[in-house]
Amino acid sequence: MIDLSQVRKEFEGKRRVVALDTVDLSIAKGEMVSIVGASGSGKSTMLNLIGGLDRPSSGEIRIEGVALGSLPDDELTRLRRDKIGFIFQFFNLLPTLTSLENVSLPLHLRGWPRKQIDARARELLDLVGLSHRLEHQPDELSGGERQRVAIARALSVYPPVLLADEPTGNLDSKTGVEILNLIHDLHGRLGATVLIVTHDPNVAASCERNITIRDGRIQADVRREALRR
């Protein structure tokens, strides 16, 4: 499903920083994987590269067999919009749009018919338990509700890959647990491949596979029984 081969990412500045150092990784379809590591270890960089938000300095990344490196920008965007859903730590909802509009956004960008978009957006908000908050703008929602809207947006076309960068990092622990449960629930129901970057050991422990990164390299890659609470 997701294959990284000899992937290296360097940042050029006053001094060169190696964020990922020749990483090889393979993630199978339907896996739920956590990526942990200290700040600056390279975990978010890895997520950005897999999501096609950034390009590696060398090496190759494939999503469902498609090599991202050779894709022009707009093709990469199309792949992102059809195959990948993003969940961010700071939600990244557009502040002027309602929940319904935020969830509709990727569908509009795909050029879906309006009726279909409306039906899908309502269905998704219902899925994340927010059918009563359709016309609310982000600043009228709680942190947990905002993240639910963001999750609904990420699921807009039920993408095969879901990438989450610290999805609970900006939430209190109770809400964090609720969001994590939602992600698990959706993973179970939709069968998507889920990658979660996290600092939180509880989040990491809840995943079937746990990858630890240190100084840009994979230090550990442990598979375990999924812990459901």
């Binding site: 950034d54 919009r81 059809d82």
Partner: protein
Amino acid sequence: MILLKLISWQYVRKHLLRTALTVAGIVIGVAVFVGMHTANQSVLFAFNQTINQIAGATQIQITAGEPGFDEEILEKVQGVPGVRVAVPVIEATAATNLPGQGNLLVLGVDMTGDRSLRSYDLEGADDDVIDDPLIFLAQPDSLIVTRRFAEANNLRINSSIPMDTMAGRVRFTVRGIMKDSGLASAFGGNLAIMDIYAAQKMFGRGRKFDRVDVGVQEAESVPEVQARIEKALGEGFAVEPPSSRGQQFENTAQIYTLASAITSLFALFIGMFIIYNTFAIAVTQRRGEIGILRALGATRGQIRTLFLGESAVLGLLGSAAGVLAGIGIARVMAGYIGNLLGEVYGIAQRAGELSLNPRLLGFAMLIGALTSVAAALLPARTAAATDPVKALHKGGAELITERENRMRRLAALISITGAILCLWFSQHRILFYAGYMLAVIAALLMTPTFSLWISKLFRPFLKAFRPVEGTLAADSLIQAPRRTSGTVAALMLSLALVVSLSGLARASYGSITQWMNIALNPDLFVSTSESITARSFVFPAEIGDDLKKLDGIDVVQMVRSVRVLVPSRKGGGSVPVMLVGADIDRIAERARLPVIAGDANTMYQVAGAGNGVVVSDNFALLHGYRLGDGIEIPSPSGVLRLPVTGIVIDYSDQQGSILMSRRLFSEKWNDSSVNVFRIYLKPGASDTAVRQAILDRFGSERRLFVFTNRELRDYVLKLTDQWFGLTYVQIAVAVLVAILGIVNSLTVSITDRRRELGVIQAVGGLRKQIRHTIWMEAAAIGVLGLILGLALGAAQLYYTLEIAERDLAGLRLNYEYPVGMALALLPVILSAAFLAALGPAESAVRGSLVEALEYE
């Protein structure tokens, strides 16, 4: 100072484009200001310089308006005690007939006495020519030219120059070439000297002189001799130092000067809004930085000084660049203005080189810097008032607070109420102008509110058009009114000026066409010059009788128009107006000008009998005359005091015209000459055939131009077109303002929305979709400016027409909104907006997506 270096300089370095845009705002304002003024000044300076160079050692000049006076006046002046020397002069311009040389200023002088006032610095042995004036005099075709003119046209001693005179084409012979200094540099070197009697013949002056130049004896005081001459000649003569002629030219061209001053000040005012916009945005964006500085102990005063210091430095930089750009503009415009003033007022001048006035340039630098500081005052105050705790928290800074909005609306309400009240008392000049200012202030105060309302109205339409891109573009405007309102305000002001100028032009065309239909209804016009406004040459009246004998001609009307000075009842002093000597009762039979005051049946009879004058409406309005008022008109036979027997609509002259009986004019000025013959044809006669007949009969022996009715109308409309050339300057300024302002707003918008744009790309937005949202935002800003500008333009047009009537031209113009221009502005401004959005849109799609998503 250290804060400027540590904080401002770093900010400037990081935001080079935005800094450049701010500076560009000042550059535009200062450049238009300097360009217009320098071009005007260069033309006036050239005129004054020519006067001074021609005056030589002349201390007093005696004139009696354009018609001049009889030769015996010279003897009277020579007889006045204290006069050292008094010499006659004829000064007129004539076409050279040489390619690329335009007009030649011909000075007719009496060589026997003239050298004691003017130095003819001739080359080599040529001095013989004037050392013995008899040689010069004995050959009436003698001409002295300048070296510059001779070199430009390959002329040498004894070369001949063909010139059209009132006695047909005459070949003049170059008998002397002047060195390029002093007198020879007058009129840009296009100067020729000929004997005064040859000049009388050439220009059809009869036995008259234009002027007498006087030198005073050493022991005498100039004012005393001046007073003695005045006494000896009696009323009707102007006895003045040469410098006062420059003042007359300035008075004549004052409408133009005023109109261009208004445009240039507007440009500066608009530049101020671009600067205000940038600083207002900068304060919003640098709130965090201000918060840190305040937390570290910077006082409010230091923060205020920091922003004002920045604005002063940028203002000075922009002013310096604006001065340079303005000099470039002036170079292009000086020739244009020179031609325009020459054609409209019939006063020839030649702005060879720019007159750079250090005081004006210094003033422009100062005004540029002050404008910049004034524009930054409010943002600096806001910055100084920033609460450090709130400033260190992110978000919420961009919104205009409800309190601020309320205050604005309240101030706008007060202003608009004041403007309406002023309308009721608008007969008082000061209240009228105060009302105008208040109306503009109210519009400016309401700009953010109107922008917000209109943006909210736009949202559903934009959303329906493009659900993502349209919605985001509208939301960007709604969320950040501070970001766009300065740009919208600048655009609004600029477009309002375009609307009002073009409305004024349209109304003027309408009125002028109406007037032409009535006043200019003869079939043919016979003039001494290809430019109907030039009055250097005149016809003897006898030609009128000869014309009447030609087949096909029914009626010939003779018109003599001269510029004279009459007292103004409004502003005091004397004003140059056009005196038209004609058979007005007969003209009125064929061309009945619309009457404003007086009895249409009797006014022409009374005036025709020489017992009064009919004046134009613009004369009455501009100079404060009413029906029955007496006008004092100076003539060589003394001052005429005649009552106004009627006021009619007549646009023959911008300063106003006085129609007088031709018989009275001939008697008092001892001048029966004619500028223009108005010819009506018999039924069935062809205008082209009669024109040919006139040319065949007189062409070989007379300098003469025949215009058909259509040609004359086209000529008048061409002049009007040139006059309204200012409208095009203003459209150019509006487009520049639109581009600058929109680039500025979009650059900031993209920075502010970097994360939002990143999110759209992250969730699948293609580059073209990002570009679309930026373009739509730009288009929306353009349309906002257009809507408000076209609306304010409607009010501004009312005020402009009123100003044109009261203070500028005395024209009663109908209010008609220039719909065509308004429609034409839509594509112009949308194209400008699109152009402005290209760069920002590219920068929006080129950045790093990861950085955009992490951007705070």
